[in-house]
């Protein structure tokens, strides 16, 4: 009974923090863009612009929700939720801190220590693809259809390399559980041992979240908004939040696999975890501010002809080195 209470509190805290962080990532994105473009971002609404996401949220709530007449209403409304829920659920296996002792009991700062953790995360991101495809299909309109199909193809192509690039880390640490992987980095973060894996994972991370330079499916100038063209107000906001939650979850996975999760000297573990996740988020935004986007065929070429072979090569080389060094 008390266990249930502890889990519920952890769920509330973790998901509340994740959603709030996703909302504030919109502000961080605008401020980081502005920083790189030598101007101020939003800094009027509240101190340093901190109330801007709230103002945006209120504005979106007041907007009129337009559902196209020829759209499949049920699926149209459900699709953003189908994108958001896996993005949130995948966060359940990420350890965001060391064990703490509260009120005399030891509490692991992870919502569910599943022993096939990384497999669960990939299952969730696979379901996330459905949300985009269903949203595009239910819009019953040209541009969303094209954007959605392209996005789905992009996502499934890059999911392969995403998984393969992590296999090196899994082999070295010997476990699929994220908690085990953080524990295995007690001496050395895996970025040192798996530089190619890290690079591949970062590139695939950009592609999986539809971020520049892989953001053709949602680029306004190309497809008038891609799969979320027909969405307005809160439905659009839901897609938007889902995208940021996806970014946050993948940043958390990257921090866990390659930078040692919550490990770090001096500061409390949760703070280190947050810093690492925010560092990856900054990298996402930095890339978006810097690179032009890839054309769709260039994107697919990269995914299948470059990243997949390289990730398989990474696995083979890691295995070889492990055998040579005796395990």
């Amino acid at each position: 009974m008390a266990e249930l209470g502890v889990v519920l509190v952890k769920v509330a805290v973790a998901f509340g923090a994740l959603l709030l962080l996703a909302a504030y990532m919109t502000l961080m994105e605008r401020r980081v863009f502005a920083l790189v473009q030598v101007r101020f971002g939003p800094n009027r609404v509240g101190p340093a612009g901190l109330l801007q996401p709230i103002a945006d949220g209120i504005k979106l709530m007041f907007k009129e929700t337009v559902i196209p007449a020829q759209a499949d209403k049920v699926v149209f409304v459900l699709a953003p939720a189908i994108t958001l829920i896996p993005a949130l659920a995948a966060f359940a296996v990420v350890p965001f801190g060391d064990s703490v002792t509260l009120f005399g009991r030891k509490v692991d700062l992870i919502l569910a220590d599943v022993n096939v953790g990384i497999l669960y995360i990939f299952a969730m991101s696979g379901i996330g693809v459905y949300g985009i495809v269903l949203g595009a299909w239910a819009s019953n309109s040209k541009y969303p259809l094209l954007g959605g199909l392209r996005s789905a193809a992009q996502l499934i192509s890059y999911e392969l390399s995403l998984g393969m690039s992590l296999m090196g880390v899994v082999m070295i640490s010997g476990t699929l559980s994220l908690k085990g992987i953080v524990d295995a980095q007690a001496n050395l973060p895996f970025i040192v041992l798996q530089p190619l894996g890290f690079l591949l994972f970062v590139v695939c991370m950009l592609a999986e979240t539809n971020r520049a330079p892989f953001d053709l499916p949602e680029a306004e100038s190309e497809l008038t908004g891609g799969f979320h063209t027909e969405y307005s107000s809160m439905h659009f906001a839901l897609y938007f939040i889902a995208e940021y939650c996806n970014m946050l979850t993948l940043s958390a996975v990257a921090a866990t696999f390659f930078l040692g999760g919550w490990r770090g000297p001096l500061l409390p573990p949760v703070v280190w975890f947050l810093l690492k996740v925010l560092a990856f988020m900054f990298f996402f935004m930095w890339m978006r501010a810097t690179t032009p986007r890839l054309r769709y065929d260039q994107l697919m070429d990269l995914g299948w002809k470059v990243l997949l072979p390289l990730s398989i090569l990474n696995v083979v080389v890691t295995a070889g080195v492990m055998v040579l060094m005796g395990g």
Partner: protein, 159 residues
């Protein structure tokens, strides 16, 4: 290709270290350049007499016909301007005005000049009809840079 992306990221990062070019209006305002054509001003001589002699050259020069001048004889005992006449009515419709500065160029005594004020807004169209009271400067010392323009222009014309 990775090297190219890394170079691009370095450029973006360097930019993030520069100081921002934004002017945080209305907390900060930028100084307007010297020849900026803003709101009109009717100037005075150093001794306090009005410069305007009611010659209506500004009205004639105005391309959009926004200046209305009516002149009256100067009272010899208490002259308003240095010449024989002064402007009894001087109105400019600032909404019609295109701020070209022809009136300033046409004026022989340097009375009407365009200053650097650009933040004049009202809530009714009629309030934009600026009369002599609105345009005339209260004291001679108020706008020294505007007063100096006539002397500069005289130098340019007669040299």
């Amino acid at each position: 290709m990775l090297g190219e992306i890394a170079r691009g990221l370095w450029v973006t990062l360097k930019h993030s270290l520069r100081s921002r070019v934004t002017v945080q209006y209305p907390d900060e305002r930028e100084e307007m350049p010297k020849g900026y054509r803003g709101l009109h001003k009717l100037l005075r001589w150093e001794d306090g007499l009005e410069r305007c002699v009611g010659c209506k050259l500004c009205s004639a020069a105005c391309p959009v016909d926004c200046i209305f001048v009516e002149s009256a004889e100067n009272d010899p005992a208490r002259p308003t301007s240095k010449g024989e006449r002064y402007a009894s009515i001087y109105e400019i419709n600032e909404l019609r005005c295109i701020f070209c500065g022809y009136c300033e160029e046409a004026c022989p005594v340097g009375a009407i000049v365009l200053g650097s004020e650009y933040e004049f807004c009202h809530d009714h169209r009629d309030k934009f009809l600026y009369t002599k009271e609105d345009l005339l400067v209260r004291r001679t010392e108020d706008y020294p840079e505007l007063n100096a323009r006539y002397d500069e222009r005289k130098l340019l014309t007669y040299v």
